[in-house]
Each structure stands twice: as C-alpha cells, then as structure tokens.
Amino acid sequence: MYATADMLLTSPAPAAPEQTHETAIEVVLVKAVLEGDRDGFTRLYDLYAPLVHGILLARVPRAEVDDLVQDIFLHAYKKLHTLRDSSLFGPWIAMIARNRAVDFHRRKHETVEINDELRGSNTQDSRATEILELIRNLPEAYRETLVLRLVEGMTGPEIAGRTGLTAASVRVNLHRGMKLLREQLGFMEGL
C-alpha cells in the first residue's frame, strides 16, 4: 500500500523526454508514409513490432502471434490515413492489437496449443512457456505490462511512452503484477 503510494508520488520524470523523442519520430514517419514513403512504415514496424508482439503474447497462443503481428501492421498501413494525431501512433496500434486479440478469441479458432511441442524443444523454453501461462492468468491490467517488461525487455518509461498509459499506472501495474507473479511462482519448483 505504502509502496504504491510512494510510487505514485515519485513517478519518474525521465519518461517525458524519451516519450517526446519517440513521438517526434512517429510524427515524421507517419507524415512520410502518408506522402508515399513505404520505408517509413518499415521503420515504424521496426519500432513498434515488439510492442505489438508483447500485447499479443499476453493474450493469444504463441503460435499465432507472429502472423497476427504482420496482419496488424498491414491493417495499420491501410488505415493509417484515419489516424488523426500522428503522435498517437503507439496507442493507436496497441489498440488495434488488443482488438485483434479479442477478435481472435471471438472467432473461436480451433487451435491446438502446441505447448507440448514447445516444451519438448528445451528446458529453458518450456519453463518460459509455463511462466508465460502464469502471467496470462493474472488480471488483465498486469498481463500486458509484465510481458512487455519481462519478455520484450522494455523499461517502464518505454512502456508508458509507447502504449500511451501514464507512467504512474504502468509502475503500479508492474509492481502489483510482479507481486502476484512472485506469489504464483512460489508454488513452482526450481525457481
């Protein structure tokens, strides 16, 4: 409780400059793409693919994630002219990814989880899949933030800057999510 309040009060200032820098890049790139520069979109893809990958990994089966990432970016390319504020490319594509994950579950794909196959490849990978499964069972607010931090290796300020969430809420989500994950991991052997 105190930790949360403390975190809210000491929400980091460094997030702002990074966010501004990224936002400036986004604005330039979106403008370039709208003027017909396809390479600009490739650059946006390079910047935001980890974010989209993380968002999907927290929601859909691992085997589907890569194809969905491509689909989402192609969809975003087609709909880029509808983006009113170029500086909000990150939150916009994050929202597309979340919606696509919801659609995926709505369609009720008859997918067979290939966890066993993945588990069989090596021990590290199987443990990773198990932990990811634990994260997926956490409340929705914590899932995405934890995957972006622990899987994609993004820092809290980066997560806030790219998803459009406030630094304070990202920090709270990380803290609470990690606390719950630690509790869950207490039941697992060997960690």
């Binding site: 930790a3 975190m7 980091p12 460094p14 793409v33 709208l34 017909g36 396809r38 979109f41 490739t42 893809y45 390079d46 693919a49 980890p50 990958h53 993380g54 990994l57 691992r62 890569d66 990432v69 491509q70 970016f73 192609l74 390319y77 087609k78 880029l80 002219h81 590290q124 990978d125 443990r127 990773a128 899949t129 932990i131 990811l132 995957v147 931090r149 622990l150 899987v151 994609e152 290796g153 820092t155 809290g156 300020p157 920090r171 990380l174 803290h175 990690m178 994950l181 630690r182 991991l185 960690l191």
Partner: protein, 176 residues
C-alpha cells in the same frame, strides 16, 4: 522494497526479476521483415476542406436567398393587401351615399375619389385583431389534435409491435 530495477533497470538488480528476464527473453520478438504487398496502396488522407467549403457556400447562398425572399415578401405584402381590400371600402362607401342626399347628384368621379381617400385604411391586415387571435387559436387546436393523433398512432404501432394478435383484438377498444 525498492523496485527501481523492475521499473527502469536502474538501481540494485533484483535477482528474481533478472532470472525471469533471462527465461522469458527466449520468447522475445524475433525481428522479421514486414512484407507490404505491392498492390497494397495507401489511401491518401482525405481532405474534406473543399467539400466543406462548397457545402458552406451553398448553405449561405440558400440562407441569403431565403432572407431576401422573406424581406421582399414582407415589403410586398401591404401593397397586395391594399389591392385586395381596395373594393371593400367601395361597398362601405356606397351605402353611405344615400344617407347624404346632397351627394346624390354629384358626378361619379367623386365617389371614386372617396375610394381613393379610404385607401390608406386598406393597408391594415385582412384579418382584424380578434379574427387573427381566433385563427391562431384554431391553428393551435389543430396542432394539438395532430399531436394527439400522432401519439395515438404511435401507441397503436407500439401495441401492434409488442402484443400478440389475441391481445391486439382485446386492446382494440383502447386504440379506438
């Protein structure tokens, strides 16, 4: 507990977080080139400004025309009323003629002159104030009646939509 490392990878590293990073890092995004099909063209951001400007222009023109027509008809109205009501005073004047025996032998032109004398009076509206109020009352009553009818019709419509055919028959007296 200080969770700076969890937040922005600064401060004293948390061994459990580090271990999780190491294990889960195997699932990290592996860069793959995005393949945009050549036939996929980017729709240009639509510029609605010219259309909005044209629409606004047309709307303004219509408004200006409407205002002009209304002011014109207002300025025309008294003349038309005068023309229409012009014969009325003649009727009023004519019976009064016998009352004045001196005028009996006067030439017809004078009667016409009398008519012209009364012309300014004809600029008053066709309806008197009382009549106008009565007309407005009547209009209001018609409007109320129309509103009531609409309400009743919508009620009937709702009932027919919501009730079964048996109930429709039962409720017919309410509708009527």
């Amino acid at each position: 507990m200080n969770d700076d490392y969890l937040w922005d990878k600064t401060g004293e590293p948390d061994p459990q977080v580090q271990e999780l990073e190491e294990i889960l890092g195997t699932l990290r995004y592996q860069p793959k080139p995005l393949q945009i099909p050549n036939e996929l063209t980017l729709p240009q951001r639509r510029n609605y400004f010219p259309w909005v400007a044209i629409a606004a222009g047309v709307l303004l023109a219509i408004l200006a025309g409407g205002i002009w027509l209304s002011t014109r008809s207002r300025s025309d109205a008294p003349q038309r009323q005068a023309e229409v009501t012009a014969p009325a005073p003649v009727k009023e004047v004519t019976p009064s003629v016998p009352k004045t025996p001196e005028r009996k032998n006067e030439p017809r032109e004078e009667v016409v002159a009398v008519v012209h004398k009364h012309r300014p009076r004809s600029s008053t509206p066709i309806l008197s104030k009382g009549e106008r109020e009565e007309a407005l009352m009547a209009k209001e009553q018609v409007m109320i009646a129309l509103r009531l009818t609409t309400e009743k019709l919508s009620l009937v419509h709702k009932k027919t939509q919501n009730t079964s055919p048996v109930n429709q028959i039962k409720n017919q007296h309410r509708v009527g």
